[in-house]
Amino acid sequence: MDLTTFLIQLLNALQYGLLLFLVASGLTLIFGIMGIINLAHGSFYMMGAYMAFALTSATGNLFVAILLGIALSALIGFLLEWGLFSRLYKRDHLDQVLLTYGLILVFEEIRSMIVGDDVHGVRIPEMLSASIQLSETLSYPVYRLFMSAVCIVLAVLMYWLIRHTRLGMMIRAGSSNREMVQSLGINIDLIYRLVFALGVTLAAFAGMLAAPVSSVYPGMGNQVLIICFVVVVIGGVGSVWGALVAALLIGLADTFGKVIIPDYAGLTVYLLMAAVLLWRPEGIFRRI
Protein backbone atom coordinates (compact mmCIF):
# COMPACT_ATOMS: atom_id res chain seq x y z
CA MET A 1 0.00 0.00 0.00
CA ASP A 2 1.55 3.31 -1.00
CA LEU A 3 1.36 6.35 1.18
CA THR A 4 -1.50 8.08 -0.62
CA THR A 5 -3.61 4.98 -0.50
CA PHE A 6 -2.79 4.56 3.14
CA LEU A 7 -3.78 8.11 3.91
CA ILE A 8 -7.00 7.76 2.00
CA GLN A 9 -7.77 4.54 3.85
CA LEU A 10 -7.09 6.39 7.06
CA LEU A 11 -9.56 9.03 5.99
CA ASN A 12 -12.07 6.30 5.18
CA ALA A 13 -11.55 4.82 8.61
CA LEU A 14 -12.05 8.13 10.38
CA GLN A 15 -15.05 9.01 8.33
CA TYR A 16 -16.64 5.62 8.93
CA GLY A 17 -15.81 5.87 12.61
CA LEU A 18 -17.48 9.25 12.88
CA LEU A 19 -20.49 7.90 11.06
CA LEU A 20 -20.68 5.05 13.55
CA PHE A 21 -20.55 7.53 16.37
CA LEU A 22 -23.37 9.46 14.81
CA VAL A 23 -25.50 6.35 14.51
CA ALA A 24 -24.65 5.24 18.05
CA SER A 25 -25.04 8.67 19.63
CA GLY A 26 -28.67 8.22 20.58
CA LEU A 27 -27.83 4.88 22.13
CA THR A 28 -25.05 6.49 24.14
CA LEU A 29 -27.73 8.60 25.72
CA ILE A 30 -30.52 6.09 26.18
CA PHE A 31 -28.46 3.06 27.00
CA GLY A 32 -25.15 4.48 28.12
CA ILE A 33 -26.38 7.29 30.31
CA MET A 34 -29.95 6.42 31.20
CA GLY A 35 -29.24 2.72 31.45
CA ILE A 36 -32.16 1.54 29.35
CA ILE A 37 -31.43 -1.45 27.15
CA ASN A 38 -32.94 -0.29 23.91
CA LEU A 39 -32.88 -2.79 21.08
CA ALA A 40 -35.26 -0.60 19.12
CA HIS A 41 -32.48 1.89 18.55
CA GLY A 42 -32.08 0.58 15.03
CA SER A 43 -35.78 1.08 14.46
CA PHE A 44 -35.53 4.73 15.39
CA TYR A 45 -32.63 5.03 12.98
CA MET A 46 -34.70 3.41 10.26
CA MET A 47 -37.62 5.61 11.17
CA GLY A 48 -35.42 8.63 10.64
CA ALA A 49 -34.20 7.43 7.27
CA TYR A 50 -37.73 6.79 6.07
CA MET A 51 -38.81 10.17 7.36
CA ALA A 52 -35.98 11.76 5.42
CA PHE A 53 -37.19 9.95 2.33
CA ALA A 54 -40.87 10.69 2.75
CA LEU A 55 -40.45 14.26 3.91
CA THR A 56 -37.85 15.11 1.30
CA SER A 57 -40.19 13.82 -1.37
CA ALA A 58 -42.94 15.94 0.10
CA THR A 59 -41.01 19.12 0.75
CA GLY A 60 -38.26 18.80 -1.80
CA ASN A 61 -35.58 19.78 0.64
CA LEU A 62 -33.56 17.51 2.89
CA PHE A 63 -32.95 20.18 5.49
CA VAL A 64 -36.61 21.05 5.84
CA ALA A 65 -37.29 17.33 6.05
CA ILE A 66 -34.75 16.97 8.82
CA LEU A 67 -36.32 19.78 10.83
CA LEU A 68 -39.77 18.26 10.51
CA GLY A 69 -38.37 14.82 11.23
CA ILE A 70 -36.71 16.02 14.41
CA ALA A 71 -39.98 17.37 15.74
CA LEU A 72 -41.81 14.22 14.82
CA SER A 73 -39.31 11.83 16.32
CA ALA A 74 -39.06 13.84 19.52
CA LEU A 75 -42.80 13.51 19.87
CA ILE A 76 -42.67 9.79 19.23
CA GLY A 77 -39.88 9.37 21.77
CA PHE A 78 -41.78 11.35 24.34
CA LEU A 79 -44.92 9.28 23.89
CA LEU A 80 -43.04 5.99 23.98
CA GLU A 81 -41.35 6.84 27.25
CA TRP A 82 -44.59 8.02 28.73
CA GLY A 83 -46.64 5.08 27.59
CA LEU A 84 -44.20 2.23 27.89
CA PHE A 85 -40.68 2.70 29.16
CA SER A 86 -41.48 4.72 32.25
CA ARG A 87 -43.45 1.81 33.58
CA LEU A 88 -40.52 -0.56 33.46
CA TYR A 89 -37.82 1.27 35.39
CA LYS A 90 -38.56 -0.58 38.57
CA ARG A 91 -38.43 -3.96 36.87
CA ASP A 92 -35.67 -6.24 35.75
CA HIS A 93 -33.58 -4.75 32.98
CA LEU A 94 -34.27 -7.72 30.77
CA ASP A 95 -37.90 -6.69 30.52
CA GLN A 96 -36.62 -3.79 28.46
CA VAL A 97 -35.04 -6.31 26.12
CA LEU A 98 -38.38 -7.93 25.58
CA LEU A 99 -40.25 -4.67 25.19
CA THR A 100 -37.84 -3.21 22.69
CA TYR A 101 -37.71 -6.42 20.72
CA GLY A 102 -41.47 -6.28 20.43
CA LEU A 103 -41.17 -2.68 19.29
CA ILE A 104 -38.70 -3.63 16.55
CA LEU A 105 -41.28 -5.93 15.04
CA VAL A 106 -44.06 -3.40 15.39
CA PHE A 107 -42.07 -0.55 13.85
CA GLU A 108 -40.81 -2.67 11.00
CA GLU A 109 -44.33 -3.70 10.09
CA ILE A 110 -45.73 -0.22 10.44
CA ARG A 111 -43.02 0.89 8.07
CA SER A 112 -44.00 -1.87 5.67
CA MET A 113 -47.68 -0.97 5.85
CA ILE A 114 -47.13 2.74 5.37
CA VAL A 115 -44.26 2.99 2.89
CA GLY A 116 -43.98 -0.52 1.52
CA ASP A 117 -40.91 -2.69 1.14
CA ASP A 118 -39.07 -0.97 -1.69
CA VAL A 119 -35.58 0.39 -1.59
CA HIS A 120 -35.42 4.16 -1.81
CA GLY A 121 -32.79 6.80 -2.22
CA VAL A 122 -32.58 10.31 -0.95
CA ARG A 123 -30.87 12.97 -3.01
CA ILE A 124 -27.91 14.77 -1.62
CA PRO A 125 -28.80 18.47 -1.43
CA GLU A 126 -27.41 20.47 -4.30
CA MET A 127 -25.05 22.61 -2.25
CA LEU A 128 -23.31 19.56 -0.79
CA SER A 129 -23.24 17.35 -3.85
CA ALA A 130 -19.74 18.21 -4.99
CA SER A 131 -16.69 16.00 -4.67
CA ILE A 132 -13.08 16.70 -3.83
CA GLN A 133 -10.41 15.05 -5.94
CA LEU A 134 -8.01 13.05 -3.78
CA SER A 135 -5.98 11.01 -6.24
CA GLU A 136 -6.12 10.78 -9.98
CA THR A 137 -8.85 8.19 -9.82
CA LEU A 138 -10.51 8.83 -6.50
CA SER A 139 -12.51 11.70 -5.16
CA TYR A 140 -14.32 12.28 -1.93
CA PRO A 141 -17.91 13.44 -1.67
CA VAL A 142 -18.32 16.70 0.22
CA TYR A 143 -21.46 15.36 1.86
CA ARG A 144 -19.45 12.74 3.71
CA LEU A 145 -17.12 15.39 5.03
CA PHE A 146 -20.15 17.42 6.03
CA MET A 147 -21.48 14.42 7.95
CA SER A 148 -18.17 14.00 9.71
CA ALA A 149 -18.24 17.62 10.74
CA VAL A 150 -21.75 17.23 12.11
CA CYS A 151 -20.59 14.21 14.09
CA ILE A 152 -17.78 16.12 15.68
CA VAL A 153 -20.07 18.98 16.62
CA LEU A 154 -22.53 16.48 18.03
CA ALA A 155 -19.86 14.73 20.08
CA VAL A 156 -18.75 18.00 21.61
CA LEU A 157 -22.31 19.06 22.36
CA MET A 158 -23.16 15.76 23.95
CA TYR A 159 -20.02 15.72 26.00
CA TRP A 160 -20.80 19.19 27.23
CA LEU A 161 -24.39 18.32 28.03
CA ILE A 162 -23.57 15.15 29.90
CA ARG A 163 -20.47 16.24 31.74
CA HIS A 164 -20.83 19.93 32.28
CA THR A 165 -24.44 20.84 32.73
CA ARG A 166 -26.54 20.28 35.78
CA LEU A 167 -29.02 18.52 33.59
CA GLY A 168 -26.30 16.06 32.64
CA MET A 169 -25.51 15.47 36.29
CA MET A 170 -29.16 14.88 37.06
CA ILE A 171 -29.50 12.38 34.25
CA ARG A 172 -26.48 10.45 35.40
CA ALA A 173 -27.65 10.58 38.98
CA GLY A 174 -31.02 9.27 37.87
CA SER A 175 -29.44 6.17 36.41
CA SER A 176 -27.99 5.21 39.78
CA ASN A 177 -30.70 6.24 42.25
CA ARG A 178 -33.93 7.76 41.02
CA GLU A 179 -35.51 7.95 44.43
CA MET A 180 -32.68 10.03 45.80
CA VAL A 181 -32.84 12.40 42.84
CA GLN A 182 -36.50 12.95 43.57
CA SER A 183 -35.72 13.62 47.18
CA LEU A 184 -33.65 16.54 46.00
CA GLY A 185 -36.72 18.12 44.46
CA ILE A 186 -35.90 17.16 40.91
CA ASN A 187 -38.61 15.88 38.61
CA ILE A 188 -36.58 13.02 37.28
CA ASP A 189 -39.56 11.49 35.50
CA LEU A 190 -39.90 14.51 33.28
CA ILE A 191 -36.16 14.73 32.72
CA TYR A 192 -36.02 11.11 31.72
CA ARG A 193 -38.92 11.57 29.37
CA LEU A 194 -37.19 14.48 27.67
CA VAL A 195 -33.83 12.80 27.49
CA PHE A 196 -35.37 9.65 26.11
CA ALA A 197 -37.05 11.76 23.47
CA LEU A 198 -33.70 13.36 22.77
CA GLY A 199 -32.10 9.96 22.36
CA VAL A 200 -34.78 8.85 19.94
CA THR A 201 -34.37 12.10 18.07
CA LEU A 202 -30.63 11.57 17.80
CA ALA A 203 -31.13 8.09 16.43
CA ALA A 204 -33.64 9.36 13.92
CA PHE A 205 -31.43 12.30 13.07
CA ALA A 206 -28.60 9.90 12.33
CA GLY A 207 -30.93 8.02 10.03
CA MET A 208 -31.97 11.22 8.27
CA LEU A 209 -28.44 12.45 7.83
CA ALA A 210 -27.17 9.09 6.62
CA ALA A 211 -30.12 8.44 4.31
CA PRO A 212 -28.56 10.08 1.24
CA VAL A 213 -25.44 7.91 1.44
CA SER A 214 -26.80 4.72 2.92
CA SER A 215 -30.09 4.56 0.99
CA VAL A 216 -33.32 3.58 2.64
CA TYR A 217 -34.39 -0.04 2.80
CA PRO A 218 -36.30 -2.54 4.93
CA GLY A 219 -34.34 -4.05 7.77
CA MET A 220 -31.76 -1.26 7.70
CA GLY A 221 -32.30 -0.66 11.40
CA ASN A 222 -31.37 -4.15 12.44
CA GLN A 223 -28.14 -3.86 10.53
CA VAL A 224 -26.83 -1.01 12.63
CA LEU A 225 -28.19 -2.26 15.92
CA ILE A 226 -25.38 -4.54 17.00
CA ILE A 227 -22.59 -2.27 15.86
CA CYS A 228 -24.13 0.56 17.91
CA PHE A 229 -24.07 -1.51 21.04
CA VAL A 230 -20.51 -2.49 20.27
CA VAL A 231 -19.56 1.17 20.02
CA VAL A 232 -21.17 2.11 23.31
CA VAL A 233 -19.86 -0.86 25.22
CA ILE A 234 -16.28 -0.81 23.95
CA GLY A 235 -16.11 2.85 24.80
CA GLY A 236 -17.27 2.25 28.32
CA VAL A 237 -20.95 2.57 29.10
CA GLY A 238 -21.80 6.13 29.98
CA SER A 239 -18.86 7.83 28.35
CA VAL A 240 -19.35 10.08 25.35
CA TRP A 241 -15.65 10.33 24.62
CA GLY A 242 -15.40 6.60 25.05
CA ALA A 243 -18.06 6.09 22.44
CA LEU A 244 -16.25 8.43 20.08
CA VAL A 245 -12.92 6.72 20.58
CA ALA A 246 -14.54 3.32 20.24
CA ALA A 247 -16.29 4.35 17.04
CA LEU A 248 -13.01 5.55 15.58
CA LEU A 249 -11.24 2.36 16.65
CA ILE A 250 -13.92 0.28 15.03
CA GLY A 251 -13.64 2.41 11.93
CA LEU A 252 -9.93 1.69 11.83
CA ALA A 253 -10.31 -2.00 12.56
CA ASP A 254 -13.02 -2.45 9.99
CA THR A 255 -11.31 -0.48 7.26
CA PHE A 256 -7.87 -1.95 7.65
CA GLY A 257 -9.30 -5.35 8.41
CA LYS A 258 -10.91 -5.31 4.99
CA VAL A 259 -7.63 -4.30 3.39
CA ILE A 260 -5.15 -6.39 5.31
CA ILE A 261 -7.01 -9.58 6.19
CA PRO A 262 -9.87 -9.58 3.69
CA ASP A 263 -10.78 -13.21 4.36
CA TYR A 264 -11.53 -12.52 7.99
CA ALA A 265 -12.90 -9.01 7.62
CA GLY A 266 -16.17 -10.04 9.25
CA LEU A 267 -14.31 -10.99 12.39
CA THR A 268 -12.26 -7.89 13.01
CA VAL A 269 -14.86 -5.83 14.83
CA TYR A 270 -15.72 -8.68 17.17
CA LEU A 271 -12.08 -9.52 17.70
CA LEU A 272 -11.54 -5.92 18.63
CA MET A 273 -14.45 -5.98 21.05
CA ALA A 274 -13.35 -9.21 22.70
CA ALA A 275 -9.78 -7.97 22.98
CA VAL A 276 -10.78 -4.62 24.44
CA LEU A 277 -13.14 -6.11 26.98
CA LEU A 278 -10.68 -8.75 28.10
CA TRP A 279 -8.06 -6.08 28.48
CA ARG A 280 -10.43 -3.62 30.14
CA PRO A 281 -13.49 -5.43 31.41
CA GLU A 282 -15.45 -2.19 31.65
CA GLY A 283 -14.64 -0.61 28.36
CA ILE A 284 -11.91 1.81 27.41
CA PHE A 285 -13.15 4.79 29.35
CA ARG A 286 -14.65 3.30 32.43
CA ARG A 287 -16.58 5.97 34.19
CA ILE A 288 -16.37 6.62 37.90
Binding site: A173, S183, G185, I288
Partner: protein, 238 residues
Protein backbone atom coordinates in the same frame (compact mmCIF):
# COMPACT_ATOMS: atom_id res chain seq x y z
CA UNK B 1 -47.34 28.61 67.87
CA UNK B 2 -45.05 28.69 64.90
CA UNK B 3 -45.93 27.47 61.45
CA UNK B 4 -46.47 23.74 60.87
CA UNK B 5 -44.13 22.58 58.14
CA UNK B 6 -44.75 18.89 57.99
CA UNK B 7 -47.59 16.91 59.42
CA UNK B 8 -48.81 13.33 59.46
CA UNK B 9 -52.24 12.38 60.67
CA UNK B 10 -53.40 8.87 61.42
CA UNK B 11 -50.88 7.39 59.06
CA UNK B 12 -51.13 3.71 58.15
CA UNK B 13 -48.45 2.34 55.84
CA UNK B 14 -47.87 -1.09 54.43
CA UNK B 15 -45.19 -2.93 52.56
CA UNK B 16 -47.22 -5.37 50.53
CA UNK B 17 -49.40 -6.99 53.13
CA UNK B 18 -47.30 -6.21 56.17
CA UNK B 19 -48.77 -3.40 58.19
CA UNK B 20 -45.91 -1.21 59.38
CA UNK B 21 -47.37 2.06 60.63
CA UNK B 22 -50.46 1.91 62.77
CA UNK B 23 -52.05 5.32 62.83
CA UNK B 24 -49.22 7.74 63.48
CA UNK B 25 -49.63 11.42 64.21
CA UNK B 26 -46.53 13.48 63.79
CA UNK B 27 -45.94 17.22 63.51
CA UNK B 28 -42.89 19.29 62.65
CA UNK B 29 -43.00 23.02 63.27
CA UNK B 30 -40.64 25.72 62.14
CA UNK B 31 -37.33 25.78 63.90
CA UNK B 32 -37.99 22.67 65.91
CA UNK B 33 -35.60 19.79 66.45
CA UNK B 34 -37.29 16.46 66.88
CA UNK B 35 -35.70 13.25 67.96
CA UNK B 36 -37.31 10.18 66.39
CA UNK B 37 -36.37 7.03 68.24
CA UNK B 38 -37.14 3.38 68.38
CA UNK B 39 -35.47 0.04 68.05
CA UNK B 40 -34.45 -1.44 64.76
CA UNK B 41 -37.39 -2.19 62.55
CA UNK B 42 -39.95 -0.16 64.46
CA UNK B 43 -40.93 1.98 61.51
CA UNK B 44 -38.90 5.19 61.84
CA UNK B 45 -37.67 5.12 58.29
CA UNK B 46 -41.05 4.04 57.05
CA UNK B 47 -42.66 7.02 58.72
CA UNK B 48 -40.21 9.37 57.05
CA UNK B 49 -40.64 7.73 53.67
CA UNK B 50 -44.40 7.87 54.00
CA UNK B 51 -44.30 11.59 54.65
CA UNK B 52 -41.90 12.19 51.78
CA UNK B 53 -44.02 10.37 49.23
CA UNK B 54 -41.73 7.38 48.71
CA UNK B 55 -44.24 5.11 50.36
CA UNK B 56 -47.90 5.75 49.73
CA UNK B 57 -49.78 5.51 53.01
CA UNK B 58 -52.96 3.50 52.85
CA UNK B 59 -54.82 5.64 55.31
CA UNK B 60 -54.19 8.99 56.86
CA UNK B 61 -53.04 12.35 55.67
CA UNK B 62 -49.73 14.02 55.03
CA UNK B 63 -49.60 17.79 54.88
CA UNK B 64 -46.71 20.01 53.91
CA UNK B 65 -46.94 23.65 54.94
CA UNK B 66 -50.60 23.11 55.60
CA UNK B 67 -51.35 21.69 52.19
CA UNK B 68 -52.45 18.08 51.91
CA UNK B 69 -49.95 16.15 49.87
CA UNK B 70 -50.64 12.56 50.78
CA UNK B 71 -48.82 10.37 48.30
CA UNK B 72 -47.68 13.28 46.12
CA UNK B 73 -44.64 12.79 43.97
CA UNK B 74 -41.55 12.94 46.19
CA UNK B 75 -40.03 15.74 44.15
CA UNK B 76 -43.03 17.98 44.78
CA UNK B 77 -42.74 17.43 48.49
CA UNK B 78 -39.00 17.97 48.39
CA UNK B 79 -39.52 21.22 46.53
CA UNK B 80 -41.46 22.52 49.47
CA UNK B 81 -38.17 22.80 51.29
CA UNK B 82 -37.71 19.36 52.73
CA UNK B 83 -34.32 17.69 52.53
CA UNK B 84 -33.62 14.09 53.30
CA UNK B 85 -30.46 12.30 54.30
CA UNK B 86 -31.50 8.68 53.97
CA UNK B 87 -30.09 5.87 56.01
CA UNK B 88 -27.37 3.89 54.28
CA UNK B 89 -26.42 7.05 52.32
CA UNK B 90 -27.82 8.03 49.00
CA UNK B 91 -24.77 9.32 47.19
CA UNK B 92 -24.56 8.98 43.44
CA UNK B 93 -21.53 6.76 42.98
CA UNK B 94 -21.16 7.67 39.30
CA UNK B 95 -20.95 11.39 39.98
CA UNK B 96 -17.91 13.13 41.38
CA UNK B 97 -18.06 14.72 44.79
CA UNK B 98 -18.32 18.11 43.18
CA UNK B 99 -21.14 17.04 40.93
CA UNK B 100 -22.97 15.37 43.79
CA UNK B 101 -23.08 18.72 45.49
CA UNK B 102 -23.67 20.99 42.53
CA UNK B 103 -26.56 19.05 41.07
CA UNK B 104 -28.54 19.59 44.26
CA UNK B 105 -27.84 23.28 44.65
CA UNK B 106 -30.91 25.47 44.85
CA UNK B 107 -32.12 28.43 46.87
CA UNK B 108 -34.49 27.89 49.72
CA UNK B 109 -38.20 28.36 49.28
CA UNK B 110 -37.87 31.98 50.43
CA UNK B 111 -34.85 32.57 48.23
CA UNK B 112 -32.30 32.02 50.98
CA UNK B 113 -28.89 30.86 49.93
CA UNK B 114 -27.34 30.20 53.29
CA UNK B 115 -25.74 27.02 52.21
CA UNK B 116 -23.46 27.35 49.23
CA UNK B 117 -20.96 25.03 47.68
CA UNK B 118 -18.18 26.92 49.43
CA UNK B 119 -19.82 26.76 52.80
CA UNK B 120 -20.39 23.03 52.58
CA UNK B 121 -16.73 22.50 51.73
CA UNK B 122 -15.76 24.69 54.64
CA UNK B 123 -17.90 22.62 56.93
CA UNK B 124 -16.49 19.37 55.61
CA UNK B 125 -12.92 20.11 54.57
CA UNK B 126 -12.40 16.41 53.95
CA UNK B 127 -14.74 16.66 50.97
CA UNK B 128 -12.76 19.54 49.54
CA UNK B 129 -9.78 17.22 49.24
CA UNK B 130 -11.75 14.66 47.28
CA UNK B 131 -13.67 16.84 44.84
CA UNK B 132 -12.92 14.96 41.65
CA UNK B 133 -13.29 11.53 43.18
CA UNK B 134 -16.31 9.48 42.30
CA UNK B 135 -18.89 9.31 45.05
CA UNK B 136 -18.52 5.56 45.10
CA UNK B 137 -14.84 5.81 45.88
CA UNK B 138 -15.26 7.69 49.11
CA UNK B 139 -14.83 6.17 52.51
CA UNK B 140 -18.02 5.45 54.41
CA UNK B 141 -17.78 8.54 56.54
CA UNK B 142 -16.91 10.75 53.61
CA UNK B 143 -20.02 9.51 51.84
CA UNK B 144 -22.04 10.40 54.87
CA UNK B 145 -20.62 13.92 54.89
CA UNK B 146 -21.38 14.22 51.23
CA UNK B 147 -25.00 13.23 51.73
CA UNK B 148 -25.45 15.72 54.52
CA UNK B 149 -23.69 18.42 52.54
CA UNK B 150 -25.84 17.72 49.55
CA UNK B 151 -29.02 17.97 51.60
CA UNK B 152 -27.86 21.32 52.94
CA UNK B 153 -27.20 22.55 49.41
CA UNK B 154 -30.96 22.57 48.84
CA UNK B 155 -31.32 25.18 51.62
CA UNK B 156 -34.19 23.33 53.27
CA UNK B 157 -36.65 24.37 55.94
CA UNK B 158 -36.90 20.84 57.21
CA UNK B 159 -33.84 18.63 57.35
CA UNK B 160 -34.38 14.96 57.95
CA UNK B 161 -31.35 13.05 59.18
CA UNK B 162 -31.92 9.30 59.17
CA UNK B 163 -28.91 7.81 60.93
CA UNK B 164 -26.83 10.60 59.49
CA UNK B 165 -23.96 10.12 61.87
CA UNK B 166 -23.58 6.46 61.07
CA UNK B 167 -19.94 5.87 60.31
CA UNK B 168 -18.84 9.36 61.24
CA UNK B 169 -15.90 9.79 63.51
CA UNK B 170 -16.81 11.33 66.87
CA UNK B 171 -15.34 14.68 65.93
CA UNK B 172 -17.42 14.96 62.80
CA UNK B 173 -20.51 13.68 64.55
CA UNK B 174 -20.12 16.51 66.99
CA UNK B 175 -19.82 18.87 64.07
CA UNK B 176 -23.17 17.61 62.80
CA UNK B 177 -24.87 18.21 66.13
CA UNK B 178 -23.36 21.66 66.14
CA UNK B 179 -24.77 22.36 62.69
CA UNK B 180 -28.20 21.20 63.76
CA UNK B 181 -28.17 23.59 66.65
CA UNK B 182 -26.99 26.41 64.45
CA UNK B 183 -29.57 26.00 61.77
CA UNK B 184 -32.31 25.73 64.31
CA UNK B 185 -31.50 29.29 65.17
CA UNK B 186 -32.18 30.27 61.57
CA UNK B 187 -35.59 28.66 61.73
CA UNK B 188 -34.80 25.33 60.11
CA UNK B 189 -36.53 22.33 61.59
CA UNK B 190 -34.71 19.02 61.92
CA UNK B 191 -35.83 15.46 62.43
CA UNK B 192 -33.04 13.37 63.85
CA UNK B 193 -32.97 9.63 63.91
CA UNK B 194 -29.87 8.43 65.64
CA UNK B 195 -28.72 5.60 67.80
CA UNK B 196 -26.90 7.98 70.09
CA UNK B 197 -29.83 8.89 72.29
CA UNK B 198 -27.82 11.05 74.58
CA UNK B 199 -26.74 13.21 71.69
CA UNK B 200 -30.24 13.39 70.30
CA UNK B 201 -31.92 14.38 73.53
CA UNK B 202 -29.25 16.94 74.15
CA UNK B 203 -30.25 18.90 71.08
CA UNK B 204 -33.90 18.02 70.56
CA UNK B 205 -36.92 20.02 71.63
CA UNK B 206 -39.23 17.13 71.40
CA UNK B 207 -38.84 13.38 71.11
CA UNK B 208 -41.02 10.72 69.60
CA UNK B 209 -40.51 7.05 70.31
CA UNK B 210 -41.96 4.49 67.94
CA UNK B 211 -42.77 0.98 68.99
CA UNK B 212 -44.09 -1.41 66.39
CA UNK B 213 -45.41 1.37 64.23
CA UNK B 214 -47.17 3.27 67.01
CA UNK B 215 -46.14 6.35 68.93
CA UNK B 216 -45.23 5.08 72.37
CA UNK B 217 -43.98 8.34 73.80
CA UNK B 218 -43.92 11.97 72.86
CA UNK B 219 -42.39 14.66 74.98
CA UNK B 220 -39.50 16.97 75.70
CA UNK B 221 -35.97 15.80 76.37
CA UNK B 222 -36.33 16.74 79.99
CA UNK B 223 -39.43 14.57 80.35
CA UNK B 224 -37.63 11.72 78.71
CA UNK B 225 -34.57 12.05 80.89
CA UNK B 226 -36.81 12.06 83.89
CA UNK B 227 -38.08 8.61 82.98
CA UNK B 228 -35.01 6.52 82.23
CA UNK B 229 -37.12 3.37 82.45
CA UNK B 230 -38.89 4.50 79.29
CA UNK B 231 -35.64 4.65 77.43
CA UNK B 232 -34.77 1.26 78.70
CA UNK B 233 -38.11 -0.25 77.87
CA UNK B 234 -38.51 1.15 74.38
CA UNK B 235 -34.96 1.52 73.23
CA UNK B 236 -33.08 -1.03 75.26
CA UNK B 237 -30.66 1.67 76.28
CA UNK B 238 -29.12 1.56 79.73
Amino acid sequence: MSETLLEAEGLHSFYGSSHILHGIDFVVRRGETIGLMGRNGMGKTTLIRSMLGHVRPRHGRVAVRGKTMTGSAPYLIARKGIAYVPEGRGIFPNLSVRENLLMAAKPGIDGRRDWTYERVLETFPRLGERLTNGGGQLSGGEQQMLTIGRALMTNPDVLILDEATEGLAPLIAKEIWYIVRQIRATGIATIVIDKNHAAVTSISDRNVILVKGKVAFEGSSAELRAQPELLHKHLGAG
